[in-house]
Amino acid sequence: MTAKVVTIASGKGGVGKTTSVANIAVALASRGEKVACIDGDIGLRNLDVILGLENRIVYDLVDVIEGRCRLRQAMIRDKRLPELYLIPAAQTRDKTAVSPSDMVRLCDELRQEVDWIIIDSPAGIERGFKNAIAAADRVLVMTNPEVSAVRDADRVIGILDAEEKGPAALVINRIDPVIVKRGDMLSVEDVLDLLAVELIGIVPEDENVIVASNRGQPLALDGKSKAGQAFQNIARRLMGEKVPFMELESNNIFHRLLGRK
């Protein structure tokens, strides 16, 4: 096996990177792929709680890098899916505990074990981000339809080009079609015009995301929610399938009668 390494970055914090990593990993694993996700946010780990695996951590990324355990021992297996693993971040260390070459070495070893390595980058464009993209074959840049997130995404896309990690693929998260229609939210087209990169996913605003994070049960596990479907679609596109982008402005009478937008 030789895994593809996909990093999810954004520049700005709070746009949904960790949620996306969890859901894309779950979606890939639910399609029979063997997936390891790595929490790159050392000192501020969160991927474990989003995946609901926080009680099972024994070793972490820094333990592997500093030789206190073998790679296999730090891979927490998700019991809901046969082939999903998490390598958690260290919580009591900081970004300087890991270097970009450490990440390359770790991923080279991990590549032999799985089909996909999905890395959750911390916010910012400093060391943690540099670590997260060091081994990446592909980088997904995540943004929200708002000025600060789009601006930061543009910076990240520029840095990825400069570091020859481009071209980035864009995920636009938390689009609310009702507000877009009213003219008070940047549309997908607006964001694409501004950033001029390839689009790989549109994730609608969905309150199920909060419910899922409360429970530690990623949305993509059931696949009924709109956001869950959107993450499944991203996974399929990563796997090389051509999947049309979800129609967000549903005027379907049945949906309206059911109170869905």
Binding site: V147, D154, G183, L186
Partner: protein, 84 residues
Amino acid sequence: MAWLFRPKKSANSAKERLQLVLIHDRTDLTPAALESLKDDLIETISRYIEIDPTAVTINIAHDGRSQRLVADIPLRSGGRRRGR
């Protein structure tokens, strides 16, 4: 009639503001630096050929993610427009 007086849709403001911000973020060129570049350009070109300094425009145009500096420098032909 109230709609006539409604301010511009906020998404349009966001897009217009971002367009300007991103140009400067990408090129690391402030509007002030661009102005000073324009002055230098006018000075240099004027040493070789007569131009109308007030009509010179310089802008950053973009095609996808690549940017280019576009200068429009009208030449003064003969002495015809001297009187202007």
